[in-house]
């Protein structure tokens, strides 16, 4: 297949991008421009976003997205499809409609670069947790961008000097789900009245351009690129400046330590059942005396670390079978079929007794779990699966006996290209 571009008119560095794979998280105002830029640079692009386009997005997203034809389509899938004709020969673009909670560290580690174009701090903090769980030598470069009024910013880091969390004020995370940008909350209060901080499509596109430039500079190996923040200030104080962010004191993100060793499980979380995982782990550890910790997810200030087997209907109080991970269970999911049919809502005012929740999975776990796939049990694609060996310890007070080994499914990163929706 012949390239659609004339190589004589393109950058001499273009061949360096051919093998690069970039993951873009968020495919809206900034993400769609970033995807277009990276595709035109000659790299492969993968996009993730759970949201879909609405008509009001047209003022900000890249011109590759068509209006009104693309209204209602999943942003990630749509942008990936629209940039496909722009790709260099041999490159791919793929979009996945998914929440970031569905991704694990190993999927992120399989990319050369990640551009984070999300508009809320909860997602940024979650991404940082995943990123810092990757062993340092396998961490991709990360670029986080955003806007504030007409200002645009982009930060590039390799996770060695500081983490993304160092760039976030902890106060911004109190309401982490609120829409924000890289430089502060997108709502400000003047004399007790809240107002939305407006930003233009131009600022968003400049943020994406800054990210693309930082990626380009990192790939060609330019000096003093890594761990820098580039800020564009619009007229009347027009300026383009570069600064070096500092690590934050007592940063909880920097405190996260990646596992020392990660062992492999054959297959992916989509096809390996709990029973198969237990067999593979027992072969690897040469013992059957272990337990698999249920996936723990800290998102929007809540820790989800259990798998709900049974609970009571949160509308009528009748016992129900749930079989879902806590992090994937909403209050409305805790209703019996009768209440769903009668459209009764789950009650928030009643303190129901806790259901039957598993925190670890073993051969002795409920037999219904054995045939469930790891993804159904709550492990995200590319998860680090924690296996605890007690080695005869009476409990966790026998600290010296307990060992933890981390496993991951080898096919997870590849499987990411086979899905369009993760839910």
């Amino acid at each position: 297949m012949e390239s659609i571009y004339n190589p004589l008119k393109l950058s001499v560095y273009r061949p360096l991008f051919r093998e690069k794979k970039v993951l873009i998280i968020g495919s809206g105002a900034v993400g769609s421009y970033a995807a277009e830029n990276i595709a035109k640079m000659g790299a492969s692009v993968c996009l993730v976003d759970f949201d879909s386009f609405t008509l009001e997005n047209a003022a900000k997203h890249s011109g590759v997205v068509r209006t009104p034809e693309d209204v209602g389509r999943y942003k990630a899938i749509c942008v990936a499809e629209r940039i496909r004709p722009l790709l260099e020969e041999g490159c791919v673009s793929h979009g996945v409609a998914a929440d970031l909670c569905m991704l694990g560290p190993e999927v992120i580690a399989s990319y050369d670069g990640v551009i984070l174009c999300v508009d809320n701090y909860a997602a940024k903090a979650l991404f940082n947790d995943l990123y810092m769980s990757i062993p340092e030598e396998r961490r991709p470069i990360v670029i986080m961008d955003g806007t504030h009024e007409e200002m645009a910013q982009s930060v590039i880091l390799d996770g060695k000097e500081f983490c993304l969390r160092c760039l976030l004020d902890e106060k911004w995370l109190e309401n982490g789900a609120a829409r924000t940008s890289c430089s502060g909350a997108q709502i400000r209060e003047i004399d007790g009245v809240q107002e939305i901080i407006r930003t233009s499509g131009l600022a968003s596109s400049i943020a994406a351009n800054l990210s693309a430039e930082q990626f380009r500079a990192a790939v060609i190996g330019a000096d003093q690129v890594m761990n820098r923040r580039v800020t564009y200030t619009a007229y009347p104080h027009f300026e383009l400046s570069v600064s070096r962010p500092m690590p934050k004191k007592n940063c909880p993100g920097c405190h996260i330590k990646p596992p020392k060793e990660i062992r492999k499980l054959t297959g992916s979380v989509f096809d390996v059942t709990l029973g198969e995982a237990l067999n593979q782990i027992s072969e690897s550890l040469e013992t059957r005396d272990f337990e698999i910790a249920v996936h723990s997810l800290f998102y929007k200030n809540v820790m989800y670390a259990g798998f709900i087997l049974e609970d009571v209907c949160h509308a009528c109080g009748k016992p129900i079978t749930v079989m879902r991970h806590e992090g994937r269970t909403f209050l409305e999911d805790l209703r019996c079929e009768d209440c769903i049919r009668e459209k009764k809502h789950a009650r928030r005012d009643v303190d129901f007794p806790p259901g039957r929740i598993e925190y670890a999975l073993t051969e002795k776990s409920d037999p219904r779990l054995m045939s469930m796939k790891l993804f159904e049990l709550g492990y995200p694609l590319g998860a680090h699966i924690r296996v605890i060996q007690r080695n005869g310890a009476f409990d966790f007070l026998d600290m010296d006996r307990i060992t933890t080994t981390v496993f991951t499914c080898t096919d997870d990163p590849a499987q990411f290209y086979n899905v369009e929706h993760l839910r």
């Binding site: 902890e170 106060k171 909880p252 405190h255 337990e291 200030n301 670890a360 409990d395 966790f396 307990i402």
Partner: protein
């Protein structure tokens, strides 16, 4: 691997805290060691049970004092007994992860704060405020029906609210003096004898 949770200080400032697995285990050990020193073994027995899969620590706390129990989820008539046992399970990730507390479903404490399934209502878990110690204290005081810790607005078993209030009004609750449950204060170590002789006093100035 680390565990993360939000911590809100006394000024209302919230920060996220991450702890490693080792730090979690150390916190558990520290709290357990503190717990076993607080109570008088004559009245409160704290016993370690073998932790099952997914559990970090499993404790059984028995209070040897008059109490009342129910036998199933339809039972509404509290029956007297001379001791009561509650169990506490701490999970990996403690103290950022909450603990679970419960009674045997066929012999559970008659209290407005105990669900009919036997689960104990231990209030919201507040990171770095709630701990094994605060939960054990609540359970132990509940077992002697000390009204100081009873939440009458709990949804757990409101049918026992009147019964509990009547017991308090009659002066029957708490069933023993709560002070008896605590370990007697450890006396300070004896003062060492002086090893250096005090020099003789200086002669007084003549007036």
């Amino acid at each position: 691997m680390s565990y993360t949770a939000n911590y809100t200080d006394e000024h209302g400032n919230t920060t996220t805290v991450s702890i490693s697995e080792e730090e979690s285990r150390e916190a558990l050990r520290n709290d357990y060691e503190a717990l076993i020193k607080i109570y008088n073994p004559r009245y409160v027995r704290i016993e370690r049970k073998r932790a099952q899969e997914g559990e970090a620590l499993h404790l059984a706390i028995t209070v040897k004092a008059p109490s009342h129990y129910l036998i199933d989820n339809n039972d509404k008539t509290p029956k007297a007994c001379q001791s009561m046992t509650a169990e506490i399970i701490a999970f990996p990730g403690y103290p950022l992860m909450s603990v679970r507390a419960f009674y045997a479903p066929d012999h559970y404490l008659a209290s407005p704060n105990v669900f009919r399934s036997g689960g104990a209502c231990i209030d919201r878990w507040v990171v770095f405020t709630s701990s094994l110690l605060t939960v054990a204290e609540k359970l132990i005081m509940d077992m002697i029906h000390n009204p100081v810790v009873t939440r009458y607005d709990s949804m757990a078993n409101p049918t026992l609210e009147e019964w509990h209030k009547a017991g308090v009004a009659r002066g029957e609750f708490p069933t023993i003096r709560p002070q008896l449950l605590y370990a007697p204060a450890v006396p300070l170590p004896e003062r060492r004898q002086r090893t250096v002789k005090t020099p003789p006093p200086l002669p007084r100035r003549r007036t």
